[in-house]
Amino acid sequence: MTVMAVQKDPQNLTMTLTAEFDAPPTRVWQLWSDPRQLERWWGPPTYPATVTAHDLTPGSRVAYYMTGPEGDQPKGWWRIVEADAPHRLVFQDGFSNDDGTDNPEMPSTRFNVTIETIDSGSRMTIESVFPTVEALEQMLAFGMEEGLTEAVGQIDAILAEDTVATR
């Protein structure tokens, strides 16, 4: 069973998620290190991912594209900052242009992944660090969700939520 904890810090634009698996870290690491396994979980069912380059050596990159329901294919890259199999992976995730080159105008997200051994198997912690609110918006807009929810509509929804919560 996967036990999860999620901590969100809107002020610092980070989210830390903890999941536990009943498998050793070496098995959990394969989810990241084997491109065929990676593409089976990275993209949501509506935007499956295809990994076209994959090397987890620090300084190397991973390249992928996702295929949307309309046939759109947003491309992305990872740049590996740190890799210590099977326990730690640090990478920057960003967007690519159609020709596969990095799109420097789009923001990138830092991921800090740790996989520890615990009695029942492994505990994986993923920290996502967004540089700006816009980066988070773009991350969700690109291949993750169908378009951006209008900002003001969101405010309304959040305010409505808070009102219910404070009652």
Binding site: L13, M15, P44, A151, A157, L159, T166
Partner: protein, 112 residues
Amino acid sequence: MQVTPPDFDRLFGALADATRRDIVRRAIDGEEGVAELAGHYSMSFAAVQKHVAILERAGLVTKERSGRRKVVRTNLFALLAARGLLDRYEELWRGRIDRMTELIAATKEADR
């Protein structure tokens, strides 16, 4: 983040008007003053100024000095929006963890 309950009537009241919602959206960049904002609407400067004042009282925008001008900037928005966005981002990752769990379970089946 917690917004204290007494602010809600004001926030809701301020956001209940389409022009004011539009001003909140335009002021995210914090580049325009009241005069420039007024240029977007077919209403008087005074009317727009009034809308901005309502938003200001609700804490949704602030007036800031930018060089020699005063610009209107959306406040609170980033934090509220960030929270809503992080909720959606969490959903994305919950889906990923579910798929990871299924993959691990599938290899276990295969090993048997």
